[in-house]
C-alpha cells in the first residue's frame, strides 16, 4: 500500500510525512520535541492543555497534537511569543497544582516537572491564587486518586473509557471547579473500576498512583517470626531495569533475583514456575471441556483486571472463564501447603509477597475465595514500581548486582511460563502443552507467531493433529468487549480465548514503570518489553510447561495429576457477578 506523502517545513526543517500525520508527529520526525501535557499517543489527542500550540501563520495558533499536517505547510514551533505563552501556561498550571514535589511519588518522572525544568519555569508564584482542595480517594486497594495534583489532561479519562471501555471517571463541574471524578463523587472502590491501573500509567503527574504496600512488606521482612516468600511475575523482569536506567526491553531476571535476596526475603520463588503450573491445569481443563462438551469457548483467567471486568460487564461469560487461579495465587497456595510441608514451616507464619506488573493483583489478593489452605494465598502485592522503590530505599546498587538464580522447589521455569507476560503468551504456552497432550507427538516448532504482537484482537486456526482449534486473543478490556460482543452475537465462534486486561498484556500493566508521553511517541513499551520476554523464551533450554522438572516433581510428590481433587482445592476458583455500583 502506498501512502500519499506530503511535505512541510517546521522551524526551517523540511519533512516528508504520510498524509494524516499530525504536526506534532511530523515535528518529532524533524527532530523537534514540541512540549505536550495532555497528549498521549493513540490514547488522548484533544488539544486541551495548549502546551503544543504552534504558529502556522493563520489567524489563530493551533494545537500541534490535533492539527493534521498539510502539504506545503510552514510551521513555527519556537518563536519568542510561543515560548512566552508556554511559560505562562506552565505557571498557570503550577498555580493550580499542589507543587509538593519532594514528597511526590512521581518526582523525577513527572512530565510537568520536566517541562518546567526544560522551559525554565520555577514556580506558579506570579499567578498564585485559589487552589481547589480535594480529599484523596484511597479507598481502592489498587489505585489512589489525588486531585490536588491533577492537571486535568484527561489522559486517565481517555484510557479508562476509550481503551478499557470502563469509563468510571470523567470531568465534573466546569471552569475552575472542573475535576475528574466518578459519578456522584463516589469513590473508585464503589464503582465498576476494574483496578487495572492503566489510568496510573497514563497520568503525567502524581494524581494517580498505586496503593503503596511497601510498608507492609518491610514489616514482614522486619519480623523475625515470619518466613517471607517472594515471587516476581514474568513481566516484571522485562521492565524493572527501566527504573535503574537500563533501556526499555532489557531483561534483568538475574539481578532482580539477586536484589530480592538482598532485600531479605527468605525464599525467592518465581511466578514463571506458577505460569507453567497454570498451563498444566488450564491446558488440561481445555482438553476436558472439549472432550466432555463443556462450556466453550474457554477464556483465560490469569488477568485480575479482566476477571473483574467480566464479572461486572459480561457476567454471562462467567462459565466460560477457566477456573484456574492466576499464577501467583497458585504459587501462594502451593507455598502455604506443599512448601510449608516440605520445609516444615507453620503456614500461619508464612507470608507470600507477589511482585506484579499489575495493580489489579492487589485487589485479587484480597478475594476471600483465594484462600484454599485456610490462609490467604498471597499476603501482599507490590508493583514493579514499588519493588524499585524498595531496592532504592535499601541502598542496593542494582546495576552492580550479579545475576542470581531463583530458589529451588518453585524457582524453575520454561519459556512457556516466561511469555505469560506478553499478550498471546498464555495462548501460545497452552497450545504448546495441549498439542503434545492431544496428539501424543512432539511439537517441533514451538513458535505460534499468529498470536503474538500488539494487535487488539488476534485470531488463529491452529491445527492440532487432525483437528483445527479456532482461537482468539484480546488485549485491553476494550478489545475484550468487542471480541465478546462478536461471540455473544454468534458472529464469531472460538474454542479458546485469551484475554489480558491491559493493552499489550502484563508487560504494559498498570504497575509497570511509567513511560513519559514523549518517549511513547517513538518507543512502544508493549513491543519493547515483549521482545525481552520472547528472547528469554527463545534462550531457554526448556520451552514447554510440562517439561519443567519442578512441575513434574510437584505433580509426582503432591498434586497427582492436573485437575485432580487436590489441584482443584488449591489451584482453582470461582467467580461472581458484580454490580456497577456498590456502597
Amino acid at each position: 500500500m502506498s501512502e500519499k506523502m506530503i511535505s512541510l517545513t517546521i522551524d526551517n526543517v523540511k519533512v516528508e510525512v504520510p498524509a494524516g500525520t499530525t504536526v506534532l508527529e511530523a515535528a518529532k520526525q524533524a527532530g523537534i520535541n514540541i512540549p505536550t501535557l495532555c497528549y498521549l499517543k493513540d490514547i488522548n489527542a484533544i488539544g486541551a492543555c495548549r502546551m503544543c500550540v504552534v504558529d502556522t501563520g493563520g489567524r489563530a495558533l493551533q494545537a500541534a497534537c490535533v492539527l493534521p499536517a498539510t502539504d506545503g505547510m510552514v510551521v513555527k514551533t519556537n518563536t519568542p511569543a510561543l515560548r512566552e505563552y508556554r511559560k505562562t501556561l506552565l505557571e498557570l498550571v503550577l498555580s493550580a497544582h499542589d507543587q509538593k514535589c519532594l514528597t511526590c511519588v512521581r518526582s523525577q518522572n513527572c512530565e510537568l516537572q520536566k517541562l518546567c525544568r526544560d522551559l525554565g519555569v520555577e514556580s506558579g508564584e506570579r499567578f498564585a491564587g485559589k487552589r481547589n482542595e480535594y480529599d484523596v480517594d484511597d479507598a481502592s486497594p489498587s489505585i489512589v486518586r489525588d486531585n490536588n495534583k491533577c492537571i486535568l489532561c484527561r489522559r486517565c479519562v481517555a484510557v479508562c473509557a476509550k481503551v478499557q471501555n470502563v469509563g468510571v471517571i470523567g470531568p465534573v463541574n466546569r471552569g475552575f471547579a472542573t475535576a475528574i471524578e466518578s459519578p456522584w463523587n463516589m469513590k473508585l472502590a464503589q464503582m465498576g473500576c476494574i483496578n487495572c491501573g492503566q489510568c496510573i500509567t497514563a497520568c503525567p503527574v502524581g494524581a494517580l498512583r498505586e496503593k503503596d504496600s511497601t510498608d507492609v512488606v518491610w514489616n514482614y521482612l522486619n519480623d523475625p517470626d515470619l518466613h517471607v516468600v517472594v515471587q516476581p511475575a514474568p513481566a516484571v523482569r522485562a521492565a524493572l531495569g527501566e527504573e535503574f536506567g537500563y533501556p526499555m526491553g532489557t531483561s534483568v531476571t538475574g539481578q532482580m533475583a539477586a536484589a530480592l535476596h538482598r532485600l531479605g526475603f527468605d525464599k525467592v520463588f518465581d511466578t514463571d514456575f506458577a505460569a507453567d503450573l497454570t498451563i498444566m491445569e488450564e491446558a488440561n481443563e481445555l482438553i476436558a471441556r472439549i472432550q466432555n462438551k463443556g462450556v466453550l469457548p474457554m477464556i483465560t483467567s490469569c488477568s485480575p483486571g479482566w476477571i473483574k471486568f467480566c464479572e461486572t460487564y459480561y457476567p454471562d461469560f462467567l462459565d466460560n472463564l477457566s477456573t484456574c487461579k492466576s499464577p501467583h495465587e497458585m504459587l501462594g497456595a502451593m507455598v502455604k501447603s506443599y512448601y510449608a510441608e516440605k520445609a516444615g514451616i507453620d503456614p500461619a507464619k508464612i507470608r507470600v509477597v507477589s511482585v506484579m506488573p499489575c495493580t489489579a493483583k492487589k485487589f485479587e489478593a484480597k478475594r476471600e475465595e483465594l484462600a484454599g489452605t485456610g490462609y490467604p494465598d498471597v499476603d501482599a502485592v507490590i508493583t514493579t514500581r514499588e519493588l524499585a522503590r524498595m531496592i532504592k530505599e535499601a541502598g542496593i546498587d542494582f546495576r552492580a548486582l550479579p545475576n542470581e538464580d531463583f530458589d529451588s522447589l518453585m524457582g524453575e521455569s520454561t519459556g512457556a511460563g516466561v511469555i505469560f507476560g506478553a499478550t498471546g503468551g498464555v495462548m501460545e504456552a497452552a497450545l504448546r502443552t495441549a498439542y503434545e497432550a492431544l496428539t501424543g507427538t512432539v511439537l517441533e516448532n514451538v513458535d505460534f507467531r499468529a498470536v503474538r504482537g500488539i494487535e487488539g484482537i488476534k485470531e488463529a486456526d491452529v491445527k492440532i493433529g487432525d483437528q483445527t482449534i479456532s482461537v482468539a486473543v484480546a488485549n485491553g478490556t476494550g478489545n475484550a468487549s468487542r471480541l465478546l460482543d462478536s461471540v455473544r452475537s454468534g458472529e464469531k465462534n472460538y474454542l479458546f480465548i485469551e484475554v489480558m486486561g491491559c493493552p499489550g498484556g502484563c508487560v504494559n500493566g498498570g504497575g509497570q514503570p511509567i513511560v513519559p508521553a514523549q518517549v511513547r511517541m517513538t518507543c512502544d513499551p508493549r513491543v519493547e518489553r515483549a521482545k525481552a520476554l520472547y528472547q528469554e523464551d527463545a534462550d531457554k533450554p526448556l520451552r514447554k510447561s510440562h517439561e519443567n522438572p519442578e512441575i513434574k516433581q510437584i505433580y509426582a510428590d503432591y498434586l497427582g495429576k492436573p485437575n485432580s481433587h487436590k489441584a482443584h482445592e488449591l489451584l482453582h476458583t470461582h467467580y461472581q457477578k458484580r454490580e456497577l455500583y456498590n456502597d
Binding site: 501535557l37 484533544i46 488539544g47 486541551a48 492543555c49 495548549r50 502546551m51 500550540v53 489563530a60 495558533l61 493551533q62 494545537a63 490535533v66 492539527l67 493534521p68 511569543a81 512566552e84 505563552y85 505562562t88 501556561l89 498557570l92 498550571v93 498555580s95 493550580a96 506570579r126 499567578f127 491564587g129 485559589k130 492537571i151 486535568l152 470523567g170 470531568p171 463541574n173 466546569r174 471552569g175 475552575f176 471547579a177 472542573t178
Partner: protein, 600 residues
C-alpha cells in the same frame, strides 16, 4: 378570512409577558366582547416590538397608535374610548424619554426609536401572530422556499447568499455563503448532512434571537429548509436554550404547522426534496453557543468545544458534514432569496452588508431591540434611537459584543458600526449586545463583571481559559477591593495575551477582551485604583467614602436610616459620618432630600 376594522396588537415577547401582557390580552378580549366589538376588532398576541423599556406595549391599527406601559386597568379605557368611540387615549400614548414628546398622531414608524431602523431580521416581529402560519404566509412567508425549490438550483441558492455578503450574526462574522459552500462540498447527495441552528443565545443582555424565535419562528424554519436544500441535508437541528420556554413552544407550534402545510417533511412542493427539523434544548451553558460545543451537546455529551480542524462543514454533528448558522443569520435568508442579493447588499458598508440587530441596554433611555443598517454611526444609535443617557449624565463608553467584546470609549463614538471597525478598536460585533455606560460606571468593575461571567461559564477543558481567566478575575477582584498591587496591570496584560492566543475556543480566546480594552482606554482608572486606592467613578465600595457636606440641614433622616450607627449629629446641625463604622451601603444617600451626602 374574516375582515376586522381594527386590530389590537399586544406584545407577547418575554419582556412584555413578564410585565403582564397576557392579562392585558384576556382583559381586552373580555371587554371587546362586552361591548359587542368582537366581530369588528381582533386582538393579536405578537412577538417583541423591540422597545421593551415601554412595555407592555399595545398598538392599535389601522392608525398605528402606540400605547406604552399599559396596565390592566387601562384596558377598559382603550376599549371604550379608542375602539368604541375612536378617541385616542392621550395619556397612555408613548412618551419619548429623550424629547419628552408625546404625540398621539405619530404612528409607530414615526417615533424616534423606530424611524432610523431598518427591520429585515425583525420584519415580522410585533407585526404578526407568531402562532399562526397563515399570517406568516400573508407576509410573503414560504415564498422564498418555493422560489428556491422550484426556480433555483442548489448552486444558485448558495450563489445568492454568497453574493448578498451576509456574514454570521452570532459573533464571528464569517461569510455565510462561504459556510454554505463548504457544506455543499462537491455537491453529491449520498452523504448524510445536517443543518443546524444556533439558538443558544447567551450573551448577557442580548435577546434578539429569542425575539425572532418568539415573534417570527417560521422565518427560521423557512431559512433552514432552504439551507437544507442548498447543501443537500435532509435533517436539521435547532439548539435552543431551555430558558426560552416561549420560544421553544412557538417553535414547536410552528414546526407542527409547517409540517401540516407540507412545508416541512417529505417531498416539499412536490420537488422530491424532504427536510425534517428537530429541537434540542440546551441546559444553559454559555459555551454551548460555540459551534463545536453545541454539536457535542446535541450528540448527548458534556458540552465542550473540540479542536478545529476538522471543521463542522467536513465533520460536524455525529461526524457528518454540518452547517451551523445563528438565528438572526437565518432570519435574513428568506428576504435575500426573495428580494435578491443586490437588494441586501445595497444596505450596509463594503465589508458588512445588510442590517444588524442590537440589544440596547444599560444607561440609556430607550432600552430594547433595534435593527439598523451596518455602518450606522454609534452616535446615532445611542443618541437618536436610544434617546441618549438618562438623568443628564455623561456618556462614558459602550460595551459591544457581550463578554467577548470590548468597551468603546467616548472618543470613538462616531465610529460606523460594522464587523471590522469594531475589531480595529478592540471590541467586536458579537451577537449584538450593546451596553451603555455613563460617568458613574467604574470601568475596572465593568471588566470584572464580564470576566466574572466568562469564568463562571468556562467549560474547564483547556488550561488557559480554566486557570487563566480565573487568575485574571482574582487580580481584578483585588484591584476593586483596594488591594491592587504594582504590576497587576502588567499581569493582566500578560495573562490576557496568552489566553487570547492559546485558548481552545472562541469563548476563551475572547474572554480577556473586556479587560484588555478597558486597560487600553481607561488605564488611568486602573492606576487610580491600584496606586491611589481611589475609584474615579466613586463606584467601588472599598475605595469610596460617604461624606456629608454643608448642604446638610440636620434633618436626621440619614442617621435614622444608617444601619451601622455611623452617623452622628444634633438636630439642625450638619451631621457627620464615621468612616470606620460606615458600611458604604448608601442608605443615607438615598434618604437625604438635600443632596448633602456625596461619595468621594
Amino acid at each position: 378570512m374574516e375582515i376586522y376594522r381594527a386590530h389590537v396588537l399586544v406584545c407577547g415577547g418575554t419582556g412584555c409577558s413578564s410585565s403582564g401582557s397576557a392579562k392585558l390580552i384576556e382583559r381586552f378580549n373580555e371587554k371587546i366582547k362586552e361591548n359587542d366589538l368582537d366581530k369588528e376588532v381582533k386582538v393579536i398576541r405578537t412577538g417583541c416590538f423591540g422597545l421593551c423599556e415601554a412595555g407592555p406595549v399595545v398598538i392599535v391599527y389601522p392608525d398605528g397608535t402606540f400605547y406604552s406601559r399599559v396596565k390592566e386597568e387601562n384596558v377598559d379605557e382603550i376599549v371604550t374610548e379608542h375602539l368604541l368611540k375612536g378617541r385616542k387615549v392621550e395619556h397612555l400614548v408613548y412618551t419619548d424619554h429623550a424629547t419628552h414628546e408625546q404625540n398621539a398622531n405619530k404612528s409607530l414608524e414615526d417615533i424616534n426609536f423606530y424611524k432610523d431602523q431598518t427591520r429585515v431580521a425583525l420584519r415580522n416581529c410585533g407585526v404578526i401572530d407568531p402562532e399562526n402560519i397563515d399570517e406568516y404566509i400573508a407576509f410573503d412567508g414560504y415564498r422564498a422556499l418555493e422560489k428556491a425549490l422550484t426556480q433555483m438550483t442548489r448552486e444558485q441558492v448558495i450563489e445568492e447568499v454568497l453574493a448578498s455578503g451576509l456574514r454570521g450574526r452570532g459573533g464571528g462574522g464569517f461569510p455565510t455563503g462561504l459556510k454554505w459552500k463548504f457544506a455543499y462540498g462537491d455537491g453529491s447527495l449520498g452523504q448524510q448532512k445536517y443543518v443546524a441552528c444556533n439558538a443558544d443565545e447567551g450573551d448577557p443582555g442580548a435577546f434578539m434571537d429569542r425575539s425572532i424565535l418568539e415573534g417570527d419562528p417560521h422565518s427560521v424554519i423557512e431559512a433552514m429548509t432552504i439551507a437544507g436544500y442548498a447543501i443537500g441535508a435532509s435533517e436539521g437541528y435547532i439548539y435552543v436554550r431551555a430558558e426560552y420556554p416561549i420560544a421553544v413552544q412557538r417553535l414547536r407550534t410552528a414546526i407542527k404547522q409547517a409540517e401540516e402545510y407540507g412545508l416541512l417533511g417529505d417531498n416539499i412542493f412536490e420537488t422530491g426534496f424532504s427536510f425534517r427539523l428537530h429541537i434540542r434544548l440546551g441546559a444553559g451553558a454559555f459555551v454551548c453557543g460555540e459551534e463545536t460545543a453545541l454539536m457535542t451537546s446535541i450528540e448527548g455529551h458534556r458540552g465542550e468545544p473540540r479542536p478545529r480542524p476538522p471543521f463542522p462543514a467536513v465533520k460536524g454533528l455525529f461526524g457528518q458534514p454540518t452547517m451551523l448558522n445563528n438565528v438572526e443569520t437565518y432570519a435574513n435568508i428568506p428576504q435575500i432569496i426573495l428580494k435578491g442579493a443586490s437588494w441586501f447588499s445595497s444596505m450596509g458598508t463594503e465589508k458588512s452588508k445588510g442590517t444588524k440587530v442590537f440589544a440596547l441596554g444599560g444607561k440609556i433611555n430607550n432600552t430594547g431591540l433595534v435593527e439598523i443598517p451596518m455602518g450606522t454611526p454609534l452616535r446615532k444609535v445611542i443618541y437618536d434611537i436610544g434617546g441618549g443617557i438618562p438623568n443628564g449624565k455623561k456618556f462614558k463608553a459602550v460595551q459591544t459584543g457581550g463578554p467577548s467584546g470590548g468597551c468603546i470609549p467616548a472618543e470613538h463614538i462616531d465610529i460606523p458600526i460594522e464587523y471590522d471597525s469594531l475589531i480595529s478598536i478592540g471590541s467586536m460585533m458579537g451577537s449584538g449586545g450593546m451596553i451603555v455606560m455613563d460617568e458613574d460606571n467604574c470601568m475596572v468593575d465593568i471588566a470584572r463583571f464580564f470576566l466574572d461571567f466568562t469564568v463562571d461559564e468556562s467549560c474547564g477543558k483547556c488550561a488557559p481559559c480554566r486557570i487563566g481567566t480565573r487568575r485574571m478575575l482574582e487580580i481584578l477582584n483585588r484591584i476593586v477591593e483596594g488591594k491592587g498591587e504594582e504590576g497587576d496591570i502588567e499581569k493582566l496584560e500578560a495573562l490576557g495575551k496568552t489566553i487570547k492566543a492559546t485558548a481552545l475556543c472562541g469563548l476563551g480566546q475572547t474572554a480577556p477582551n473586556p479587560v484588555l480594552s478597558t486597560i487600553r482606554y481607561f488605564r488611568n482608572e486602573y492606576e487610580a485604583h491600584i496606586k491611589e486606592k481611589r475609584c474615579p467613578a466613586h463606584h467601588c465600595r472599598n475605595l469610596l467614602q460617604y461624606v456629608i457636606t454643608d448642604k446638610c440641614r440636620g434633618c436626621t433622616a440619614c442617621a435614622r436610616a444608617c444601619p451601622a450607627g455611623a452617623i452622628t449629629g444634633t438636630v439642625k446641625q450638619q451631621h457627620h459620618i464615621d468612616p470606620a463604622k460606615c458600611l458604604k451601603c448608601g442608605a443615607c444617600m438615598e434618604k437625604c432630600r438635600f443632596g448633602a451626602i456625596i461619595r468621594e
